[in-house]
């Protein structure tokens, strides 16, 4: 048609672009080679600065060139006066801005900017901050910029309250931003620390004084500010309950306690002449300076973890030199020192007793509340109320259900058990992809509840049958248990941690799906193992049992292994101590 604008065809355009590209490549390669040869000759002149600038402005991710550039700049620092250096570095900052426009996430550019800013004789931090703000307004998740900003804030000493206002602003414009929420969580304890506690409890209290507070109180925020934060974060999750960043922040707000590092239990057995020590967290006893003092005499002992798989473990055992405590008419005093943490625990073995222990029980420690713990129950109650309100509106929201469960556990784990189980059921339905995670979490909570019940009853029997357990945990808390009943659950193994049950005599685990007995390892008192209707298929799976010297009774009915030819004779060979075998 006449008059129409003629446009080049795609092929024509392509051809032109190809030629253009070739030309550019030639120039680029030439400049690069020039730079390299200059560098190898040790030339640090303005021309080299020019050349690298040319190359870097088209490809800011060329680390070698940034290095060369730094060499040149450092050389210039030695030959120019301060004003000139200031000018050179200011020009460098301008140049970097153009590089950041090419690639706002270039490692090289941001790193170089940090380097230049730190060397600038008269830095203009306000300008750097506003640059960061501009970058973050374009992409509020640019972590390079976040990193650089943190550096600027640190060096220039921006007041904490201004930074908090900065997070307010970012969260206000888009609250789906982990970086801002997280930054907030680091600022709040600085700006609104919890009012100073009563003088912190002595680390080495006399036995008569009340037990030391189980939780340390660092990283905590004063209550007035906490309430404001609750309100803020509630606004976020009521607005969009599917956004997880707010929920994570909420969990941080609710649970800020860290457990004190301590020796939680010392157990001594006269028969085995053995000491077992439990710690509040997994440690490597060989390297933390553990010292055993028996009747005032330091003992040279070999600490070992309960299972060779563990370099770190919450439970460590050692054998005393033979004959030290085996006389039942003697009384002994043991002290275990954790020299690294300046803490220790005493244990007395009285005349006529075959074993003794000293410990803080899980109930004393409020152990299972530490994940969510606020001093004031009333605060937790009102939080639970508002999250329940949200749940009424959004009955199928997983974050909401999970938070309710956590709040209920913090408030009253046993009282809310029924509701908790019902919520877990819903969770598994609405978030089927993570149903295994929820099953494990539910198992953990059920185990915690059972431990609490056991301790209230002051018994050494742990019974948790028919609760759909999929995993075992908190086994370090079961150090003193003699009878354990895990029947009718969905366990697939007795993991290596199971070896922490150093006092175990009877193990009932009928009707599970257990294939693996790795954790039934060197249990000195174990006599009875009931494993009816499980999935143990080979004799090799039973190998760990051979390490338990006192094993007498073994029930393997309903396991594939029972069908193996010659099983009886082979078992007799493998486990000579067993006298009562059911196949």
């Amino acid at each position: 048609m006449h008059g129409r604008v003629k446009i080049k065809t795609t092929a024509q355009q392509e051809e032109e672009k190809r030629k253009e590209r070739e030309k550019k490549l030639k120039i680029y390669v030439a400049a690069r080679d020039a730079c390299f040869s200059k560098r190898s000759e040790g030339v640090w002149d303005d021309e080299a600065l020019q050349l690298t600038q040319q190359l870097l402005s088209s490809n800011p991710d060329f680390a070698t060139l940034w290095n060369y550039r730094r060499e040149i700049l450092m050389h210039l620092e030695t030959v120019k006066d301060e004003d000139e250096v200031q000018k050179i570095y200011e020009a460098e900052l301008l140049f970097l801005e153009s590089c950041l426009k090419v690639n706002p996430k270039s490692y090289g550019s941001w790193h170089h900017r940090g380097w230049v800013s730190a060397r600038l004789p008269r830095p203009d931090w306000a300008r750097e901050l506003s640059l960061c703000d501009r970058c973050l307004s374009l992409d509020d998740r640019n972590f390079h910029c976040w990193d650089y900003r943190r550096m600027v804030v640190k060096i220039s000493g921006v007041p904490v309250d201004q930074e908090l206002a900065f997070t307010d602003r970012l969260i206000g414009s888009n609250f789906s931003n982990y970086s801002s929420w997280h930054y907030r969580s680091t600022l709040l304890p600085l700006l609104h620390p919890e009012s100073p506690e009563p003088p912190s409890p002595c680390r080495e209290p006399p036995q008569t004084s009340p037990p030391p507070s189980p939780q340390t109180h660092s990283h905590r925020v004063c209550e007035e500010q906490l309430l404001k934060e609750y309100e803020l974060v509630q606004n976020a999750f009521f607005t969009d309950p599917n956004d997880q960043s707010a929920w994570f922040y909420y969990r941080w707000l609710l649970g800020r306690a860290e457990r004190e590092e301590m020796i939680s239990c010392v157990y001594v057995s006269r028969d085995e002449e053995r000491v077992a020590v439990a710690f509040s967290r997994p440690v490597n006893a060989q390297s933390v300076g553990l010292l055993l003092v028996l009747d005032g005499q330091p003992q040279r002992v070999e600490w070992r973890s309960v299972h060779p798989r563990f370099k770190h473990s919450p439970v460590w055992i050692c054998d005393l030199p033979p004959g030290t405590i085996n006389d039942i008419s003697n009384e002994h005093n043991l002290t275990v020192h954790w020299t690294e943490k300046h803490t220790h625990r005493d244990c007395a073995l009285y005349t006529g007793r075959t074993e003794s222990w000293c410990r803080d029980s899980a109930t004393d420690q409020e152990l299972f509340r530490s994940e969510l713990s606020v001093e004031k129950t009333s605060v937790l109650q009102s939080e639970l109320q508002s999250v329940n309100q949200l749940q009424e509106l959004e009955p199928l929201n997983k974050w909401c259900l999970l938070t309710i469960i956590l709040l209920m556990r913090a408030l009253d784990p046993l009282g809310y058990e029924k509701e908790t189980l019902a919520h877990f059921q819903t969770l598994k339905e609405v978030d089927a992809m993570r149903s295994a995670y929820y099953s494990d979490l539910c198992s953990k909570f059920m185990i915690e509840n059972t431990i609490l019940k056991m301790e209230y009853a002051e018994v050494r029997v742990f019974s948790i049958s028919d609760k759909n357990l999929t995993t075992l945990c908190h086994l370090d808390q079961l150090l003193l248990v003699t009878h354990i009943n895990l029947s009718s659950n969905q366990l697939q193994q007795l993991p290596p941690q199971f070896a922490m049950l150093q006092c175990l005599e009877v193990l009932e685990a009928d009707n599970n799906s257990i294939e693996n007995l790795e954790g039934v390892y060197h249990l000195p008192k174990l006599e009875e193992v009931l494993l009816k209707n499980n999935k143990i298929s080979t004799l090799a799976d039973l190998q760990p049992l051979a390490s338990c010297p006192k094993l007498k009774r073994l029930d393997l009915r309903g396991n594939p292994v029972a069908q193996t030819p010659n099983v009886e004779s082979e078992l007799a060979e493998l486990l000579p101590s067993v006298t009562d075998l059911l196949l």
Binding site: I7, K8, L25, Y28, N59, T64, N67, N235
Partner: protein, 630 residues
């Protein structure tokens, strides 16, 4: 035509530079049609125009009437003349101007040599008009009412004398005061406002060039047809846009912010957390059509909202500010506009709307520019006086002066079809210059749309757009406020009650903390919605565009332009992307690189290009550069 060397043969002649006409012009020119685009006015964009303050004052005073010449002597056998109407007053009426600020700036006068002479003249003129209007008050009022009651009678453009009379009425009504007992406006403010320093009328005139006052008040839906068209055609490169930053509403005598985006809902202090959840859930749920929605088909949207267990305030927000419908709008319509609103959210910001920097009048001009880039010819202050009709084919063949062409598109009423004008509804408009925002906030640069539900039964719902100086439509220290509603009475009758309530004027009962009105203008404009572009017994190659409609978006004009374009050129693509200047081939030049940018401004070319180049370059560099060492 004036210039002898211009071509006299065109494919398309377009009269009027309103939005629809300009889009048609750009579209035709883009696909190679020879376009002649005329406007008899001295400015672009017709009733879509934006004026400086002084420009607006002269627009108000503009009443020139041209004699219709008799061209019948030139008729040949088998031809007939169609007269084209050539004046605005048919579409603009009931102009009323009020100035509530002092004539001169007292403080400034003491230190500066005083306003320039032209400024003084203007100011004096304004005063005298206001005074003289007072004396003619009764008569003027009467005229206004009569005009309104019998609109059709004035729209027979063939009766030239009648036209004149209508226009002369417009002269009278301009600047008049409707109430005789009202204090003289120029005197009032200085007495009642001794403390706050107000911007004087003289200052407004002096700084008048920095105003861009739109005749229509619209916003661009960020996923509306206009934005799509601007992007598709690359016309967007000719303009800049700002986000509307707030949606406000007037409720229980207060201006409140309507939380509509996620960030707004999160930050809102007026909603409880439960309300926040309910609102968010409603907004998310209505994005998709559901069976539940169909059950309410035909029933009022309000009823649907009531049954969603939303509180009163949420219902108000959803009905008036988000759907922007009335209480009896059917549910399906309400839901459709709610959806449209939501779809537009978040594309460019936290509200669904954009506003062009320098005013809405920019948009038609951008399309004109595109038309010119592809060879369209422009003449302002020119029009066709009549069309020559080939009786046998009922097709227009040429106009007087020998401009001949294939198709004609025009915006003005054409003589033969008076009936279309009877369909005119009117839009009531008010333009205020105020001294502060209706809802002050940290930032002075908010651009707000305010929905005002009917203040009493039978009153229209009013839509208000408040522009800050950041839009380059008013001077710092002022806000420009546009009010729009469907006419029930005259613009003054419809809108002044709202103005009196929400702003401080001498008529307001008390001052409160409301913004003061410095200057305001009321007028009615014909609503382009009522005019069907076809079926008016037009020659088959003459197409009619309507003027601006009352709706908030631009869909009507864009749709109309597209349909006209498709009638003219059914085979052609409507506004395909304009090519990059470097890809255009010019006659006798195949290498093209030397003349790249010949049509376009070089700086735009530079803006467009680098991004692509850099990407390629980077790819190359990645291949070429050695592994980084550190």
């Amino acid at each position: 035509m004036a210039a002898e060397d211009l071509p006299s043969e065109f494919d398309v002649v377009i009269l009027g530079t309103g939005l629809a006409e300009s889009v048609v012009a750009a579209a035709c020119s883009r696909v190679g049609q020879r376009v002649l685009h005329l406007d008899r006015r001295s400015y672009y964009a017709a009733n879509w125009a934006s004026f400086t303050f002084n420009g607006l004052l002269s627009w108000i005073q503009q009443h020139q009437v041209k004699e219709v010449q008799d061209w019948s002597g030139l008729l040949e056998e088998g031809e007939e003349l169609i007269y084209l109407s050539n004046s605005d007053p048919a579409s603009i009426r009931n102009l009323q101007v009020f100035c509530y600020t002092s004539e001169e700036d007292e403080e400034e006068e003491a230190v500066s040599p005083g306003p320039s002479e032209t400024t003084e003249e203007e100011a004096v003129k304004e005063t005298s008009e206001t005074e003289s209007a007072d004396s003619k008050d009764e008569e003027g009022n009467h005229q206004v009412r009569r005009n309104f009651n019998t609109p059709a009678a004035h729209h027979l453009p063939a009766i030239n004398t009648h036209f004149m009379s209508v226009q002369s009425q417009a002269v009278h009504t301009q600047g008049e005061e409707p109430e005789a007992d009202q204090p003289c406006p120029s005197a009032a403010p200085s007495q009642s406002q001794p403390t706050r320093k107000k911007i004087s009328y003289a200052q407004l005139v002096k700084e008048g060039r920095r105003f861009n006052i739109d005749l229509v008040s619209k916003l661009m839906y960020s996923r509306g047809s206009l934005v799509d068209l601007l992007i598709k055609s690359n016309v967007s490169r000719y303009a800049e846009f700002k986000n509307v930053t707030r949606i406000l509403t007037y409720r229980h005598g207060n201006v409140e912010q309507v939380p509509c985006s996620r960030a707004d809902v999160f930050a809102s202090r007026q909603l409880s957390v439960v309300e926040k959840r309910k609102l968010m859930r409603f907004l998310t749920s209505c994005v998709e059509e559901m069976e539940e929605h169909q059950a309410y088909s035909g029933r009022p949207y309000l009823e649907f909202l009531r049954n969603q267990q939303l509180g009163d305030n949420l219902q108000h927000f959803l009905l008036h500010s988000i759907a922007m419908v009335t209480e009896d709008t059917p549910t399906e319509e309400g839901l459709a506009s709610t959806r449209h609103f939501l779809r537009c959210l978040g594309r460019y910001g936290n509200t669904p709307f954009l506003f062009p920097v320098y005013g809405l009048g920019e948009i038609p001009q951008c399309f004109c520019r595109m038309c010119a880039v592809f060879g369209g010819i422009y003449c302002l202050r020119h029009s066709l006086l009549c069309l020559l009709l080939d009786m046998s084919s009922n097709r227009y063949t040429s106009s007087q002066c020998g401009v001949s062409c294939e198709d004609v598109t025009c915006s003005d009423p054409i003589g033969r079809s008076p009936c279309c004008l009877c369909l005119y509804r009117f839009v009531s408009r008010a333009v205020l210059i105020t001294d502060s925002s209706v809802l002050p906030s940290d930032s002075e640069q908010q651009v707000s749309v305010v929905t005002v539900p009917p203040i009493a039964a039978g009153c229209p719902a009013v839509r208000m757009v408040e522009l800050s100086p950041s839009t380059m439509t008013c001077v710092p220290g002022t806000h420009l406020v546009h009010l729009t509603c469907q006419s029930v009475g005259s613009a003054y009758e419809d809108l002044s009650p709202v103005v009196t309530r929400m702003f401080h004027t001498p008529e307001s009962p008390d001052r409160g903390s409301r913004p003061s009105v410095l200057w305001c203008l009321y007028f009615n404009m014909a609503d382009g919605w009522g005019v069907e572009p076809e079926g008016h017994d037009l020659p088959s190659n003459v197409f009619l565009c309507s003027g601006p409609d009352a709706a908030l978006g631009h869909d009507h004009a864009v749709r109309q332009a597209e349909s006209i374009f498709q009638k003219i050129l059914p085979e052609e693509d409507f506004c395909p992307p304009a090519p990059n200047p470097e890809d255009i081939i010019y006659d006798g030049d195949n290498s093209s690189s030397s003349t790249a940018g010949g049509l376009e401004e070089p700086e735009e070319e530079r803006q467009e290009e680098p991004e692509e180049e850099h990407q390629e370059e980077k790819q190359l560099l990645e291949e070429a550069s050695p592994p980084a060492e550190e």
